[in-house]
């Protein structure tokens, strides 16, 4: 299949789900300390569990070949922490600011600009040496030179470990859900199915599972395009920057991930137009500067760490990469600290 087409289709599906489900890891993590709201965090959890079991089964049947990112602990800790700080300042994670471009939010456009420019400078510009040295100096591999995962570090078969974690988490979750008596996990209870899909907000479980389904399809389609890894965001934007900088050069082509990015914006735009939620929203100049700076921190952090919240958290954690797990924890730490300093502490004073 044509990689342009599969990239666009995956992107459009992803963008549609992101917009309808309001899926954003910045909100998911930040709202825990800010509003004691766990709704989006539960969506993230559902998506990760589905991907954990799904990728493990797909790998064991030969449909995909797992490709966990390496553990580069210094780069993972520093880069992802800065990414976490940046996303709270920018008002959205890498996927959040990308889908909000399709909703017409100008603050998201400036954030994406910062992410792309700083990402490019860290990948191929004056910050590249710093990033490469930090990654090389703090890289730890397995005894036979492979990338460390929770499975090979513990010496347990990947499929067995993935299914154990999946089963234990699902059981705990059911017990907790029963105790709390949740009812609106799927979304609106009134209205026709069309209204539920295209007009009203989705429940956290619907959103989480559909994000997971997009991730499951993304892996084999991406691999077929010659890129053996599931979803990502930052590298896709950097690919677009490279093409823009060298537009007339036919040798510089947009990769699969860059087509996913274009698809996300299209999918989100379509969803927002149908729901009547598209509007150009221009915040004050100060806010545009703020989201641009936040985006710059995200771009630098993501490339230094080897992935953003999608590359590491959504795609790497389900493959049990130790580097991605460390990066994920570091993103959360950066986001919590920044949310506390920006929003919680000023209220107490």
């Amino acid at each position: 299949m044509d990689p342009v087409l599969t990239g666009l289709i995956v992107g459009i599906a992803f963008g549609f789900v992101l917009q309808r489900g309001r899926f954003c890891m910045n909100s998911a993590f930040r709202d825990v300390v800010l509003l004691k709201d766990y709704t989006l965090l539960k969506s993230v959890g559902a998506a990760l569990l589905l991907l954990l079991a799904g990728y493990a089964i797909m790998d064991s049947t030969g449909m995909i070949s797992l490709n966990p990112k390496p553990l580069t602990w210094g780069a993972n800790l520093l880069g992802s922490f800065i990414f976490g700080v940046g996303m709270v300042i920018a008002g959205g994670c890498a996927s959040g600011i990308t889908y909000r471009v399709g909703e017409g939010m100008v603050g998201a456009i400036t954030a994406v600009l910062g992410l792309s420019v700083a990402g490019y400078l860290t990948a191929a510009g004056f910050l590249a040496d710093f990033k490469t040295n930090l990654q090389t100096d703090t890289k730890i591999l397995t005894a036979d030179g492979g990338n460390l995962t929770l499975a090979n570090a513990l010496g347990i078969d990947h499929l067995v470990l993935a299914l154990i974690i999946f089963a234990v988490a699902v059981v705990i979750w059911f017990v907790l859900a029963r105790k709390n008596g949740e009812s609106d996990v799927w979304g609106a209870t009134e209205g026709t199915l069309v209204e539920k899909i295209f007009k009203s907000g989705w429940g956290w479980l619907t959103t989480g599972l559909l994000i997971g389904v997009v991730g499951l399809f993304a892996f084999p389609l991406s691999a077929a395009a010659g890129r053996n890894y599931p979803l990502g965001i930052t590298a896709g934007w950097i690919g677009i920057v490279k093409k823009v900088l060298d537009f007339s050069n036919p040798d510089v082509a947009l990769g699969w991930l860059s087509w996913v990015i274009i698809g996300i914006i299209l999918g989100s735009l379509i969803a927002a137009l149908i729901a009547g939620e598209f509007k150009f929203r221009v915040p004050k100049v100060g806010v545009l500067v703020q989201t641009f700076i936040g985006g710059c921190l995200m771009g630098f952090g993501a490339v230094t760490s080897g992935g953003c919240n999608i590359g590491h958290l959504l795609s790497g954690v389900p493959q049990l990469s130790l580097g991605s797990i460390l990066a994920g924890l570091s993103i959360i730490a950066g986001a919590w600290l920044t949310a506390y300093l920006m929003f919680v502490r000023p209220q107490k004073g």
Binding site: N26, S27, F278, K284, F343
Partner: protein, 82 residues
């Protein structure tokens, strides 16, 4: 439309995440019990998140009305946390 008159109006249109929520919550915190806050907002995530969090603070959502496009108008009765 209900015939409640708002004591105060807060326009958070164009604001980025999470300011629509934060501004609404901090304004409500400073209001007397029974006073009504009118909030104008256009951020879809907050349109769904604010009602969830009002419950926790015991403020009462009197009305959430859809205007043009993503614009919404909420009327919220303050619980009186002052």
């Amino acid at each position: 439309m209900t015939d409640v008159t708002a004591t105060k109006t807060l326009d958070v249109r164009g604001k980025i995440c999470p300011y629509p929520d934060m501004d609404t919550m901090t304004t409500l915190k400073k209001m007397e019990k029974g006073e009504v806050l009118e909030v104008l907002l256009d951020y879809p995530l907050s349109v769904e998140r604010i009602p969830r969090n009002l419950k926790k603070q015991k403020h009462k959502l009197l009305e959430s009305e859809k205007l043009d496009g993503p614009d919404h108008r909420m009327l919220i009765e303050a619980y009186g946390l002052k």
